[in-house]
């Protein structure tokens, strides 16, 4: 008589939907942090551009910290230290905060470059037409600068999407965390990692295709 407890079971269709859900979580946390982080980063970029001295003294060093400390270190530190100052955030919330700040730090420099790319003569021209500072920003600097930095911004966005994998260390079940669970159960690491890779590709490929299309349209 052979009777054994099944500890391991092979990869099944249900597992695929488990991974699909996890992919949606990856998408969700990436989407939120890229969106909020870009808005915040745009604001920081503007501040760096307009307040050269204050920006260099205060803002830049802070952004430098977010840019240069490895994301995984930031995540672990924040997750463990936030409760000390009374912030009780779960894995998703902590991941979101850190990813957002990380995105904003990356976008800030890109955004400043965008404003610089527009150039002073262009801005003097729009002001000479009677536009206010804000009108110049809204109708001239933003559309021209945004187009100029779009490729770099897409690079940042795709990077953040992949970096969101690191939130798995906090226990948030996104793609990588889900794959670890499945690998432990099925003992089929290669297959599962292949599937996870395909999911990441499926998430980023449309973005990069669409952005290439936009760039082409703008370059006309």
């Amino acid at each position: 008589m052979e009777q054994s407890v099944t500890v391991f079971s092979s990869f099944s269709v249900q597992d695929l939907s488990f991974l699909g859900e996890a992919a949606l979580r990856t998408l969700w946390i990436s989407f939120l942090s890229i969106t909020i982080g870009s808005v915040l980063g745009g604001f920081f970029g503007w501040a760096l551009y307009e307040m050269k001295v204050w920006g260099a003294i205060f803002l830049n060093p802070i952004l430098d910290v977010f840019r240069s400390v490895p994301l995984i270190v930031q995540l672990v530190l924040f997750y463990n230290f936030a409760p000390i100052v009374g912030l009780n955030l779960d894995a998703f919330e902590s991941g979101l905060v850190v990813l957002t700040l990380y995105t904003s730090a990356l976008v800030a420099n890109v955004a400043r470059g965008g404003i610089e790319a527009v150039g002073k003569p262009m801005r003097i021209t729009s002001r000479s037409l009677g536009m206010s500072y804000l009108q110049d920003m809204r109708y001239v600097v933003f559309p021209i600068g945004a187009r100029a930095i779009f490729p770099s911004w897409v690079g940042v966005a795709l990077g953040v999407m992949k970096d969101s994998a690191l939130v798995s260390v906090l226990g948030y079940v996104e793609l990588v965390k889900a794959s670890q669970v499945l690998i432990t159960r099925t003992q089929e690491p290669l297959l599962i990692i292949l599937v996870v890779g395909a999911f990441y590709f499926a998430l980023s490929y449309p973005v990069s295709r669409y952005s290439a299309k936009l760039e082409k349209r703008w370059s006309q």
Partner: protein, 240 residues
């Protein structure tokens, strides 16, 4: 009328304008000539308040440009300006380039602004380029686009800052022709220029700037044929 009184301008320790007194009447075309660094362009920038001044005043129709209470955005609607670099808005078509400021600054409706823009594009000879993006236009066409863009605000005065200096030689003519048309229509113009032919033919008066002062001013005939100042003579001998 634009009247400039005792205007001084410094860039840090550099005394760029050293006391300019000038009046430009309605309908007059004044050409400003002089060597690079004589303060010509800075002078124009002070007239529409792009550059602050340290002493003296600029009155445009009685409004003090550099007074703290002056609404510069409103004042600048009276002063169209065309620069050496045309600075077309690259993300907008020709007609959108021209219609943008009327729409957002003058709060015209979109159709009104487009109508004005179409009229001004026709005016400068770009009637067939409404929906073309600037990068498909030549330098001369882009400079005419810049003129149409300034005219669309219905300014009382036009300031030209070396409008043809950045153009290839074969494109200078079309821009000067457009400026000529404006002068004939009675537009009040201040043209900083290196085009002596234009200054001679089109202007009512020519001012020669030398090291931040108006060295000599007079009719084109007088300046070009019988210059009084030694500096003017030297300069004209060089550019001829």
């Amino acid at each position: 009328m634009i009247s400039i009184d005792g205007l001084h301008k410094y860039f840090d320790n550099l005394h760029v304008l050293q006391g300019i007194d000038l009046e430009v009447q309605k309908g007059e075309v004044l050409s400003v000539i002089g060597a690079s660094g004589s303060g010509k362009s800075t002078f124009l920038y002070c007239i529409n308040g792009i550059e602050p001044v340290q002493q003296g005043s600029v009155l445009v129709d009685g409004i003090d440009v550099h007074a703290k209470t002056t609404d510069l955005n409103k004042l600048r609607q009276r002063l169209g300006m065309v620069f050496q670099q045309w600075n077309s808005f690259p993300h907008l078509t020709a007609i959108q380039n021209v219609a943008l400021a009327p729409q957002i600054v003058k709060k015209m409706s979109k159709s009104e602004a487009i109508e004005v823009a179409a009229r001004q594009l026709e005016h400068v000879g770009l009637g067939d380029k409404f929906n073309v993006f600037p990068n498909a236009l030549s330098g001369g066409q882009q400079q005419r686009l810049a003129i149409a863009r300034a005219l669309a605000m219905d300014p009382q005065y036009m300031l030209f800052d070396e409008a043809t200096s950045a153009l290839d030689p074969e494109l200078v003519g079309e821009v000067l022709d457009t400026m000529r048309i404006l002068a004939e229509e009675g537009m009040t113009m201040i043209c900083v220029t290196h085009e002596m032919g234009f200054a001679r033919d089109v202007s009512d008066r020519v001012a020669y700037f030398h090291e931040g002062i108006v060295e000599e001013i007079g009719s084109p005939e007088q300046i070009f044929n019988e210059p009084q100042s030694e500096q003017t003579k030297k300069f004209l001998a060089k550019v001829r």
